[in-house]
Amino acid sequence: MSMNRSDNAKSVSVLEVEDLTIAYETRKGDVEAVRGASFQVREGQTVGLVGESGCGKTTIAFGIVNFLGPNGKIVDGSVRFQGKELVGQSEAELKTLRGDRIAMVYQDPMQALNPSVRLGEQLAEVLTYHQRISEDEACERSIQMLKRVNMPDPEDVMRRFPHQISGGQQQRVVIAMAMLNNPVLLIMDEPTTALDVTVEAAVLDLIEELKNDFQAANIFITHNLGVVARVSDQLCVMYAGQMVERGPVTEIFRNPRHPYTMGLLASVPRLGETKADSILHPIRGRVPPPAERPRNQCIFEPRCDYATEKCREARPRFMEVTPEHMARCIYAGEIETRPRTARRRPRRVEEGTLAHPESGKDVILSFEDLKVYYPQESNSVVSLFGLGEKRFVKAVDDVSVRLSKGRTLGVVGESGCGKSTLVKGIIGLEPVTDGNVEFLGIDVTQPVSERDTNLIQEMQMVFQNPDSTLNPSYSIGKQIARPIKRFKTVPKNQVKTEVIRLLKAVRLDAFYYDRLPRQLSGGEKQRVGIARALASRPDLIICDEPVSALDVSVQSAVINLLLEIQEIYGSSMIFIAHDLSVVRYFSDDIAVMYLGQIVELGPAEAIYSPPYHPYTEALLSAVPIPDPDAEQKQIRLSGNVPSALNPPSGCRFHTRCPRRQEMLPDSGKVCETVVPPWQEAKRHRILCHIPVEELEKVEPVVHTPA
């Protein structure tokens, strides 16, 4: 993968951006969103723009084609495209470029496609608008292009509407649309952020392929360091509207010179790292909003661990580390990269595993054959009268796990695999269709409204979205005080003291008591959400994607906080996430879910090394790893996740399984009809027909050079 990274360094330069400064007009005057950004993109090269949200990545992309909206404007600098200056060009001139020689791919394919126009028409329009060709020819070429982006059955897709194809396929159509006119420059703005990890991997493969075939110059915008490490040749790190580091991607990952880049790399767990052997280093503070950015000093100084007086004196220039590698830090040549793995003090959790529950002494939560079905509403007349066959979405089907005290169970799987429904069933937000759930030895199959208050108190939840986890109408203090009052954990006159104690426990100052949610940043809101869950002093905390909506630097702080809380209070946790590196880092045990069922279950380290369930193997090979030197197997799943309304017979994974044909006799016919058995590996269990001995022969998915 890293072979062709620099051999096209001598190719033609397509885009040169120099000292680009972009401002938005607001009521308080102009606010600079991007300041003095410079970079260059060559033919057949991918330049990655990374940084947290609000750092100006997208603004640069829009600035190139002057798509800034009525209140945005380029204040200074130049954008030269194929030697021609774009700044100051007329709207008509730019319009002929956009979609023809410069194409864009956006984050959400559903918003890039017109929902009421057939895909074929939308594709052909791109051609007929810019070129003089007949409609038939345009259709023919659109079909060719759909084939090129590995779209199954392209003629059929041409006749469909956007909502009739899956998200990954939509993004393929958008990419096909962008490539139709053979653009010289392709700008991709978080093209895979909205996709599942296996779909993302396939789309990234496609982008890589197209780059080699079409020799377009690419700009790839993302916040995900793993993704950028996979696709980019050159990397630009953005912080608060400024470019802080620029250079070849391998250089920057191996030898980051700006403290912000170092901080970003130190704050994400790599695949395989665990809480026992490494600490994540969050970057303190937050990205300053555009109006409050210091002008004549280093922009990162307030959050920098290495900052000195000198950093406040002037805005640093780009310092040359090597001729190609620049960093905007006056100490770029001097500071040392922090050693990555600092040992954490070992936790005192006993080796009770859920694959072998006999050894776990205190089981806090166990569920057996748990089923959560949703009745499917049908609009036919027959069902209106209660006749006809009732259909169910089998969101969770026959799931059994035991969780022992003080341990963390990670649940992973792609969207729609039932992991959220599973925890909703346990906590009583969704009615359990069938099965046993026992919490602290008490049956909890009934909905939360019928449970005993003492029981409710022991199981609390941390939610995903920081913007909706807090009620915007009440102050932080009131919202944390509510569970305290409700469960009477402390006498009435001590409630306020208790709230402040909890705020301190989640590293927030007492003055947050009176703040309203809208005055807090995403990470702070998430901390309040954690404090609220802690207020009832629960034995079990369920975290439903608690960090996936946060920026990476904040994400690690929240993970550290949750770990600390677990150490202090000894709470058990269920941790749901789609990021496999985070789950591995955080969890003791892991359950891998596919289409409503657990397919692999056991201690984290056992799940992440062979023998793998074929699905786990595919998931792991799709994880973007923030290390361009890491070697990773490429196993891509074909097709889409089948509908949970009518799951495949036999093994649910058989329709997409990449292993059964080579590893089973009769090319795995048995998987299509017979439900696979639970097989015991050394330390964990796998739901598969393929014998464990066979699975054990599989190579590890990731190989990181030492």
């Binding site: 939360v448 009620n471 469960f487 402040i500 007492a510 009176d514």
Partner: protein
């Protein structure tokens, strides 16, 4: 972790000042919008003249002057007189009292708050509750409540008013009941749609995982977050209610005859327009129109300005 008593106490004090500040923030939205300010000025004008009506005119609204019927504006009667020689200015501002300031429950017992305001308030209570319940519970309950309200909305409003008033008889309390019945479906629909959106938020999930009662969730967690649109809608509805009161009065179904009612003033005065004295019909029409326009401007301004801050 010990927190000093002083620190804790000072936080409580801050809460109170914060409360005041939040109210002030709400009020300052009105001042930020020109439209809302004009609307507020018109509405305040009518509220003030209604409150201070006895001080603003030497006549009572029922006092008849046989010598001067159907007169135009003069120094004795600034807006002129009606066919019985009653002073139009005093009838107008006493009429405003019934709309905006007092609710005559009976001859001797008056309730503060105008008929239109009470009607809208009652409609808000009923409509909000119905909207919250059907939006939060959903399912069959929602289906039944909403279809019933749809059926009510299918009847033309004027017809509905006529049916209710002719069944109940003309009195201020019955006007309140009529306004309530007519206003409820619209408010319920609005609150239901807001509830459908808000109930999907994670703070509602959090409340549910705490085992809070449905009533707590509806009125404490959901309702405060729907208040913005509800307030704007309520202002518009006060306008409609005033309009409806005028209509009912005009048709003879409003307040019983001798009392100064804008609608019945127009109805009586209309006969004399062609006879050369349009004043008795003109002033109450202007009053109704200006008050309705004022409330609309206020509501529009508030909506625009609060949207801008989101």
């Amino acid at each position: 972790m010990a927190v000093s008593r002083d620190a804790t106490a000072s936080i409580g004090v801050e809460t109170r000042t914060r409360h005041l500040r939040r109210i002030w923030e709400g009020v300052s939205i009105i001042f930020a919008s020109k439209t809302a300010m004009i609307g507020l000025a018109i509405v305040l004008f009518w509220v003030i003249v209604a409150v201070f009506a006895p001080l603003l005119t030497p006549y009572t609204p029922l006092e008849q002057d046989w010598k001067a019927p159907n007169q135009g504006p003069s120094s004795a009667h600034i807006l002129g007189t009606d066919e019985l020689g009653r002073d139009l200015w005093s009838r107008l501002i006493y009429g405003a009292r019934v709309v905006l300031v007092i609710l005559p429950l009976s001859e001797s017992f008056l309730l503060p708050g105008g008929t239109a305001l009470w009607g809208v308030f009652a409609a808000l209570l009923v409509g909000t509750t119905l909207g919250l319940v059907s939006g939060y519970y959903g399912g069959w309950l929602d289906e039944i409540v909403m279809r019933l309200l749809d059926a009510m909305m299918a009847v033309p409003i004027i017809l509905l008013y006529l049916i209710i008033m002719s069944a109940l008889g003309a009195s201020a309390v019955n006007v309140v009941i009529a306004i309530t019945i007519v206003g409820t479906p619209g408010i319920a629909r609005l609150v239901r749609s807001l509830t459908l959106d808000i109930r999907t938020r994670e703070y509602i999930r959090a409340a549910e995982t705490r085992g809070e009662s449905p009533w707590y969730i509806m009125f404490v967690e959901i309702l405060p977050n729907a208040r913005g649109p509800i307030i704007v809608d309520a202002m518009l509805r006060v306008g409609y209610a005033i309009f409806a009161m005028g209509t009912l009065g005009f048709l003879g179904l409003g307040l019983p005859p001798p009392s100064p009612d804008w609608g019945s003033m127009v109805a009586k005065g209309r006969e004399f327009i062609l006879a050369g004295s349009p004043w008795a019909a003109l002033w109450p029409s202007v009053a109704i129109a200006s008050l309705v326009v004022g409330l609309n401007l206020l509501a529009d301004g508030l909506r625009e300005e609060s949207m801008r801050y989101q």
